[in-house]
């Protein structure tokens, strides 16, 4: 089964981390994802820009374009992992490993449809190209 592990955290708090702390959290996350990757069970990994960079298009008679994220919540969706796990229990184990450092919460959502897409890798390069 494919699962999405969605990372939620208070953006203001994560934004207050010094760079070293941010790097340290990512490094510890890599310990979890590297294991999954070695077994061929890691799909796309995405880290989102802050919600201040978000724009929302809301359905209406005329679709409405709004600055900001979809929902005003205490914790924001900061990114997600796609993992291939045999069971929910296994996905929970992975998420536990991820949430150990840095706090926040991980929401596990089984995937209904998965298309790896055509931009893999290229997207990262494109978004950072000047």
């Amino acid at each position: 089964m494919l699962y999405a592990i969605l990372c939620y955290h208070d953006e203001a708090e994560v934004g207050s981390w010094p760079k070293e702390k941010d790097d340290a959290v990512l490094a510890k996350r890599a310990l979890v994802t590297d294991k999954l990757a070695a077994k061929g069970r890691l799909g796309p990994v995405v880290r989102l820009m802050p919600t201040t960079a978000a724009t929302t298009v809301r359905a209406g008679r005329e679709p409405l374009v709004i600055d900001g994220p979809f929902a005003e919540t205490k914790e924001q969706l900061l990114g997600f992992y796609i993992v291939d796990c045999a069971s929910l229990a296994e996905a929970i184990e992975a998420a536990k490993g991820m949430v150990k450092d840095g706090g926040g919460a991980m929401e596990i959502r089984p995937l209904r449809l998965f298309r790896p897409g055509t931009t893999a890798g290229a997207l990262a390069a494109e978004s950072v190209a000047p």
Binding site: A12, E13, V14, K21, T52, P130
Partner: protein, 428 residues
């Protein structure tokens, strides 16, 4: 949780909201700060065992408020004061639950707290110091270190600034739309000053103070979260991100300034650039341009150029023209002249800056640019005079060193015409 660093980050993140709400209750900055301190102490005691509360700011506000109330009651008993303003003020305070639900309140609370620091009577440095102390929660020692003054001198400055703003009496009612816009403008300007203080230090030997830049970006993001649809706030955040993206490339190993044209663009932080450009794009969609958006757009043009030669100087000249219309100033004209020199040559640019001689008579960059233009035109003697003047006006040793390099090149390359021209000294 194996370290307590997360508590620090949570307290820092919750601070603006918590202190500003406590300020609304107590109407006194010192009481609000003390209440917050007490709440933090209690958080350090209980959070490691119980884990973080679901809403740390609401927790801190409630605990801080109760602690300050207890303290006031205790004092009242001890001194047997007949009346206590602080207490009577609290009787009609909202419950913690209502506080949690009322996000709109926070917005004006935090804006008020930031605005209090921007009192027009306060010199820029005091505004910044006050914001760093009250809003960001930096210690006096840290602020003193950033401004390269002694701790006691900084303590004095902050105390004086606090007294000033206490007397200013910023109203506590929810502001109307015009007041809100005015406060937002003042706060944005203060954040911009804070960034500039970090970006080009006004004195001392440290040229770039990264923590000040990072704190300015944090505050700009905070402001943008509170006002997500304000294009100028998007522009401000974009501008700071795009400028800060170059931080690593701006100084060499010896701490000397590396000019924009000579920077190793591989050292530019692509993540910050991407975020800055995303915010800029969002802002421009509103079609309500302003000075921050235009400046961000200029920084964006530089960010888009993989090589200095790829820089779209015609676009930059146009943008500086737009900036002159929004915010006429000789400094902006000076910067436009640099773009003009790239598009139409140094003679045109030199003619443009002649009228600026008087208003910019004491401005380091004016003589730097003037010397550089004269040098490009082969007028070495006049260039040397301008560079000498620039050195005399330099604010930091790094600035002086930058001009000395120009003088050296002038000496060694009097005959040799450089192919692409050398870097101009205004931008780095």
């Amino acid at each position: 949780m194996n370290d307590l660093g997360w508590i620090d980050a949570a307290l820092t993140a919750a601070r603006p909201q918590a202190v500003s709400a406590l300020l609304r209750y107590f109407r006194d900055l010192d009481t609000a700060e003390e209440a917050f301190q007490e709440a933090c102490l209690r958080a350090l005691k209980t959070w490691p065992q119980n884990g973080p509360p679901r809403d740390p700011a609401a927790w801190l506000i409630m605990v801080g408020r109760n602690a300050a109330l207890d303290e006031a009651r205790r004092k009242k008993k001890q001194t047997e004061l007949p009346e206590d303003d602080v207490l009577s003020d609290l009787d009609d305070a909202e419950s913690a639950l209502a506080e949690r639900l009322d996000g709109a309140h926070y917005r004006d609370d935090i804006l008020r707290l930031l605005f209090i620091c921007c009192h027009p009577d306060l010199p820029a440095v005091q505004q910044i110091a006050l914001a760093l102390r009250i809003v960001s929660g930096l210690s006096v020692k840290e602020i003193a270190r950033a401004f390269l003054v002694s701790e006691s001198a900084m303590e004095q400055r902050i105390t004086r600034a606090k007294r000033r703003v206490a007397a200013a009496d910023v109203p506590f009612e929810a502001p109307g739309a015009p007041e809100r816009a005015e406060r937002l403008g003042a706060v944005a300007a203060m954040i911009y000053l804070l960034f500039n203080e970090g970006y080009s230090a006004s004195g001392g030997s440290v040229q770039v103070r990264v923590p000040l830049c990072e704190e300015a970006i944090r505050l700009a993001r905070l402001l943008l979260r509170l006002f997500p649809a304000e294009p100028e706030i998007m522009g401000l955040a974009a501008l700071l991100l795009l400028q800060h993206a170059r931080a690593k490339a701006r100084l060499d190993g010896e701490g000397n300034i590396v000019l924009l044209e000579d920077q190793d663009r591989g050292l530019w932080d692509r993540e910050l650039i991407a975020e800055g450009l995303a915010l800029l794009e969002k802002a421009l969609r509103h079609q309500r341009p302003g000075p921050y958006q235009v400046q961000a757009a200029i920084a964006g043009v530089h960010a888009h150029a993989a090589q200095p030669e790829d820089t779209d100087w015609a676009e930059i000249e146009q943008l500086y023209g737009a900036l002159e219309r929004h915010q006429p100033s000789p400094v902006v004209t000076l910067n436009r002249a640099v773009a003009v020199s790239k598009v139409r040559g140094p003679a045109a640019a030199l003619a443009m800056i002649e009228p600026l001689a008087q208003p910019l008579a004491g401005y380091f960059h004016y003589f730097g640019v003037k010397g550089w233009l004269l040098k490009e035109l082969g007028r070495a003697d006049e260039a040397r005079t301008a560079f000498d003047r620039a050195i005399a006006l330099a604010n930091t040793p790094a600035e002086a060193e930058q001009i000395r390099q120009h003088l050296d090149r002038l000496k060694e390359g009097a005959q040799r015409k450089s192919g692409r021209g050398s870097a101009h000294p205004a931008q780095s």
